[in-house]
Symmetry: C2
Subunit: 390 residues, 2 copies
């Protein structure tokens, strides 16, 4: 019982292994081909380092520059993503678990703010264990709360106002105003502490232990983009990263940064993790941030996984590895596979339009063709265009 | 003048550098996270090896298995992709250049056939240097030929019939039947040697030295899929790989393998190369094959690149690195960055439906939502959904 993280922590990550073993030109070329141009590290203030040390979490910071322009000044924004393990055993009282997470992640947000972060995004349903694997309702559904008035939004609103930062707060939402149904949502809290709005998960997985379709349905809110004082942002929650058309609609609505708060485990998705959010940054001339939780969560009652294996009590290892990708195809190193962490990138949003002008994927996207083609293909009587030998 | 390959060949590739420097668990984990599950190598017949040795090209072969099913036997297909440098100086007579390419690549196709290949795909406009950088017409437009009756299609039809293989023949097409205009096309030649049909390039680049929009327009043929005796295939030519919606329409039309014959150079696209075709395989539950030409091509007259640098006569280094990606997110190693090569994968097409059933991206794609959203977004008066603080 209880929770255990160390047992599945065996390999720290690709970047550290490469750094350890490759030298000189080999390292430079492998790094360039795998990650794009190298980013300089940002200096981290001492007080932020102390917090990281006290809280036992990683703190990395990089600078992603753009070219200078004559008419537009640089639009530099410090984006922070946070990955965390849970803070108490899953058997602890709900309120205790949530408060312990508030305390732990609150300290990480403060470290990010002290390091100059302007926008902070947390992982999917960060305020609870990822308990959907159990298919049990109580006590897990008790973690759900109002997007606008719940305790987690209130807690983060105070931090947002205190530091003048935007916080993206992905929660399990209880829709108190409408039939008390549950959603997987992300609340955008502005730098004033006010709720700017919310986004909900557009695509719900039905794979492995991601039994989320037992708890909530697909969003009906479309693809909202939020204009903050630090830039236009959107949130593509977790499984939506497998759907390029989902990223694209956020892009078409003008998002300059699309966050992907996630919860995903090793055996299933790890070789996909470096691909999908980065592809979206390239295809949409914007920044993306892929955020995964970390650690192994153990639940009180055993459950099976539809894979013929015996019942067990854990969901496997959430491998962290959060990263930020730029429109020019470059990306930051990932956070650890095993440890809590804060990753900061100072990005220049001018890079979005510069890359759009240079690569031209938006200009050449033939949207009208695809609108028509998708419409036809969505009809139940659609006949795929298949050519055969006469 | 003439052409020079060796000068830009300085780094063989990521895979060989990793193999050389990483050991044991570090190697296994880095390989797994970067490339997915490991593929066993396929034995290569001696006579194919001799051809590769004589022709001085790489020959790699891997096996990509699927689970066994009760009702469907495995549908194993050997797919081969070929990357090649040009075979003569660009100053040689057009006919001589083309014949030299026929001879060289013909030998590579024969090696692939001797190694059991069923479907062979060549690189974009493989029968000529990638001369669009020059913006000159003659002599380069003289390379264009009829898709159905041109000398290159005839040459490959004989090879296809001789070995009973399907060959995808990406050419510069002269549309003799319709106003003699030029297209960037791929001709599908069936195992009988007959022309099964053709596909044309849906998205045309306007970036770097890719001045192709001066020569031909976007395809009006939509997203045809070709039913061959070895499976349903489609061709997404070059720059179309940057457009996820383009891959998706081929997928929606039932493609089990989507080939991406390309021509792309190092400084511009190399960090994107491993991302895009692989993302498409994941998102569409199908196999994809990314094929790039290799070498540096030097042209008789100098040209500029719109980047402030002095006039020059080469397009930069085409970095090869062709690879095949599977629907489960795994991929083969890449061919060399510097050398001609044939890459073969014996794939089991049953993996497409198995992954579709498992991951469920097609089931959860909400196509109707995106058809409507794209239609709205394509209107000139579309108002993006942007939420602001009141």
């Amino acid at each position: 019982l209880a929770f255990d993280m160390s047992s599945t922590v065996e390999f720290e990550g690709v970047e550290s292994a490469l750094k350890k073993s490759l030298q000189g030109k080999d390292y430079d070329e492998v790094r360039r081909i795998l990650y794009g141009r190298a980013y300089p590290e940002l200096p981290i203030p001492e007080e932020a380092k102390v917090r990281a040390n006290d809280g036992n979490f990683e703190l990395q910071a990089y600078e992603v520059t753009a070219q200078s322009e004559q008419l537009r000044p640089p639009r530099k924004v410090r984006v922070a993503v946070i990955q965390n393990s849970i803070a108490s055993p899953t058997t602890a009282p709900v309120d205790e678990q949530k408060k312990a997470l508030h305390a732990k992640v609150g300290a990480m947000i403060e470290a990010a703010a002290l390091a100059g972060a302007n926008i902070v995004c947390l992982q999917e349903t960060w305020m609870m264990p990822f308990a959907f694997c159990t298919r049990e309702r109580l006590p897990w559904t008790e973690f759900a709360e109002s997007a606008e008035h719940g305790p987690t939004t209130k807690f983060l609103s105070q931090l947002a106002a205190k530091y003048g930062i935007v916080i993206i707060n992905p929660i399990l939402e209880r829709d108190e105003a409408k039939d008390d149904v549950i959603w997987n949502a992300a609340v955008v809290i502005s730098h004033t502490g006010k709720v700017l709005g919310k986004s909900r998960k557009n695509h719900i997985p039905r794979v492995g232990d991601f039994n989320e379709s037992n708890y909530y349905m697909e969003s009906t809110l479309g693809h909202p983009v939020f204009q903050t004082i630090f830039g236009k942002i959107a949130i593509n929650i977790c499984y939506g990263r497998h759907h390029p058309q989902n990223w694209m609609m956020y892009g078409l609505n003008g998002a300059e940064i699309i966050f992907n708060p996630s919860a995903t485990t090793g055996g299933l998705s790890e070789p996909l993790w470096g691909i999908e959010a980065r592809n979206a940054a390239i295809a949409n001339h914007c920044f993306t941030a892929a955020i995964n939780r970390v650690g192994t969560e153990v639940f009180p009652n055993e459950f099976t996984s539809g894979n013929g294996l015996p019942a067990h009590r854990d969901f496997g290892h959430f491998y962290g590895s959060s990263y930020i990708a730029a429109p020019d195809g470059s990306r930051t190193p990932g956070l650890s596979r095993a440890k809590d962490g804060v990753l900061i990138a100072e990005i220049d949003l001018n890079l979005c339009r510069q890359t759009k002008d240079s690569w031209g994927f938006r200009m050449t996207n033939r949207l009208d063709l695809y609108a028509k083609s998708f419409e036809k293909a969505a009809h139940p009587d659609y006949q795929p265009d298949i050519r055969k030998e006469c």
